[in-house]
């Protein structure tokens, strides 16, 4: 038995033999002279094989499967048949280049052109072109080996996987995905979540350590991969798989049900999203709006900040998709542990107490201006709430509101129609702001509690530091008292109170949140249905009783006991 750790990216458990996807050799010569007739023959064979495989894929997914998969397969097929691309490849081969080089060059030319566009959706299509190219390169590398047929349940182990590769390899027997590389916001990961395949990324050394047909256990949430688990570990995983299956079936009954307690109090169960690509998944889980959209991910993995137009398109898509529910979009929360190269964030001794969230934005107005203008425009398409992170005092809120007004006037002067104004609110992450919610309320429409940071700042403990991680304790009585303080502060104001941190998905804690008057719980999309089921089983009277008991607890042990 050997245990490896990676980044859990799609939850769930699996136990099955490994199927290892061999790496493709992507090395090719740029300088040598090749026989164009021979290269052209190789090209024709590889090309017709890829077109054949992609048509099969398209057929498979147009009959059933999520809409995204059919669209990806269809787009890839059309790209593989693109006359301009084909003629460029043939003309490179005519100049005595190797087939591999020609395919790569023609594809990169298009990919780079598309990558330089403003439209974020189109920019991502560059990856689709590279995906089609890599298919051809694979076919050239191993002619006539149509994709290997895999029979029986299996866990796919690969260095990395393209979206179209996942689509071709996907079957109900694909139980898990373990990648040595991989990216949590890539299309492959998003598809894995849509297919609900437990997935673990960035598992170092997995390609060397796993042999074909080794048995593998996957815990998609915690990111743990066990190679050849022993009997007790096997039993453990099998039990979890059974429990999940049973639960998944049962939870389907809650997709189009409203989240209302037994005595009629409606709660919004919304989703936290890192990317607009996860929207369909969240909608499929019956999410009642988006309670936290993390915009800082728009800044990452690129060389310059996105334009107003690009941001507008993303925000608009989020807002429109969840209408008539609300979309709460949080302004850039950078700094702290989130670094962005081109923004030249200062190197700080103590980044979590440094220039992060709204502090950064108020000092870098240009970046903020672009974002707020995009948000104000997008607000016209539904119900938007703008949420600012890392607020510690009233003055920051006032400064933000002034800027908001200034950018509104700017847009109006440019002739933009702004008939709808977004709601405004803040994250409560810092103890200082928890103590003054009543003073802030007249300037705002809502408060949403970010629990990881709130607990971190309350307990002065970093949960990533294993020496003190146990001190980062959501069940510390001080945390409950702080929530009570916030709840009392919001009472008798016109603001609503929500929670978008991990605690919102802690099932034992949810009765307390209801008793404290939370109107919205925003959780990861995979936790929406379980949260809804729980709310439907609760009534306010018993929630209040639990809260009374819990408020008397003087340790996290006794608090947990009060909740059980």
């Amino acid at each position: 038995m050997q245990v490896l750790k990676g980044k859990g990216s799609s939850p769930g458990f699996a136990l099955a033999p490994a199927f290892i996807l061999k790496n493709t050799n992507l090395q090719f010569s740029h300088e040598q002279i090749f026989d164009d007739i021979h290269e052209s023959k190789r090209w024709k064979a590889a090309h017709s094989q890829v077109v054949h495989d992609l048509s099969e894929l398209q057929k498979k997914y147009s009959q059933k499967g999520p809409q995204e998969s059919a669209e990806i397969a269809e787009a890839h097929l059309m790209m593989a048949q693109d006359p301009e691309w084909i003629s460029n490849i043939e003309s490179f081969m005519g100049q005595k280049h190797q087939c591999e080089y020609s395919v790569n060059k023609a594809s990169e030319d298009f990919a780079k052109m598309i990558e330089s566009l403003d439209d974020p959706y189109l920019r991502q299509r560059a990856q689709d072109i590279r995906d089609v190219a890599r298919r051809i390169l694979r076919a050239l590398d191993e002619p006539n080996s149509h994709e290997e047929k895999i029979t029986g349940d299996h866990i796919l182990v690969a260095e990395d996987l393209l979206p179209s590769e996942l689509l071709s390899l996907y079957s109900p027997q694909l139980k898990g995905l373990v990648l040595q590389k991989g990216n949590p916001t890539s299309h492959t990961t998003i598809l894995a979540r849509t297919f609900e395949i437990p997935t673990i990324l960035t598992v170092n050394g997995v390609m060397e350590k796993v042999r074909a047909h080794d048995e593998i256990a996957v815990s998609g949430m915690s990111g743990i991969v066990t190679i050849n688990p022993d009997a007790s570990e096997k039993k453990n995983i099998q039990d979890k798989i059974q429990r999940d299956l049973f639960e998944k079936e049962e939870l389907k009954n809650y997709i189009s049900v409203k989240s209302v307690t037994r005595d009629g109090v409606a709660i919004e169960v919304a989703s936290n999203l890192n990317s607009a690509h996860d929207l369909n998944f969240a909608l499929g889980k019956g999410t009642e709006g988006i309670g936290l959209f993390r915009t800082e991910f728009l800044l990452m993995d690129r060389s310059a900040a996105p334009s107003e137009e690009e941001q507008y398109q993303v925000y608009r898509k989020v807002i429109e998709s969840v209408f008539p529910h609300k979309a709460i979009i949080r302004t850039f929360d950078i700094g702290g542990d989130k670094q962005v190269n081109y923004l030249n964030l200062p190197k700080e001794e103590n980044p979590f107490l440094g220039l992060r969230g709204i502090r950064y934005c108020l000092k870098n107005i240009e970046l903020f201006r672009t974002q707020i203008r995009a948000l104000l425009r997008a607000a016209q398409h539904g119900n938007l709430g703008i949420m600012i992170p890392m607020v510690t005092k009233v003055e920051e809120v006032l400064e933000f509101k002034n800027l908001l007004k200034k950018f509104q006037i700017e847009l109006l002067n440019e002739g933009k129609k702004l008939e709808k104004s977004p709601e405004t609110g803040i994250m409560i992450e810092v103890p200082s702001v928890a103590m003054i919610v009543d003073q802030l309320a007249s300037h705002l429409d809502f408060f949403s509690i970010g629990t990881n940071d709130l607990v971190q700042y309350l307990c002065a403990a970093d949960r990533m530091n294993s020496n003190v991680a146990d001190l980062h304790d959501a069940y510390h009585p001080a945390v409950l008292r702080t929530l009570k303080l916030i709840s009392d502060g919001v009472k008798n104001t016109s603001c609503w109170l929500g929670m978008c941190g991990e605690m919102a998905a802690k099932y034992d804690y949810q009765p307390l949140l209801l008793a404290l008057g939370f109107k919205e719980l925003s959780v990861s999309p995979g936790a929406v249905l379980r949260t809804r089921k729980q709310i439907l089983s609760l009534d306010m009277e018993s929630c209040h009783k639990i809260l009374q008991k819990a408020l008397l607890a003087d340790s996290s042990e006794s608090l947990k006991a009060a909740l059980s």
């Binding site: 669209e71 787009a75 059309m78 693109d82 006359p83 298009f110 052109m113 598309i114 439209d119 189109l122």
Partner: protein, 89 residues
């Protein structure tokens, strides 16, 4: 025969993979060459990659030139596509 007409892109999104795909598909049966022009850039209308690389957004005017025996029917098909704002049937 060569026909030329300018269309305003009124679909909700820009010329993304799906609308570009519909455009290419609708032209496939015809013996024509098609040129799509935006801001001085001319692209092959039968190539999905070229169409996407125009980066056309809503409100843009696309000048379309169709040449060949079937120019008439091909242009008719494009007109339908723009009239329906690229929505699938």
């Amino acid at each position: 025969m060569t026909l030329e007409k300018t269309f305003k892109l009124e679909s909700q999104d820009g010329l993304h993979a799906r609308p570009a795909g519909l455009f290419v598909k609708c032209l496939a049966p015809y013996q024509v060459t098609v040129e799509v022009e935006l801001r001085g850039q001319k692209k092959n209308g039968k190539s999905i990659m070229s169409l996407m690389s125009l980066g056309a957004s809503p409100g843009d005017d696309l000048k379309i030139t169709v040449t060949g025996n079937d120019a008439d029917s091909a242009l008719k098909c494009i007109e339908d596509l723009f009239a329906k704002k690229f929505s699938a049937e």
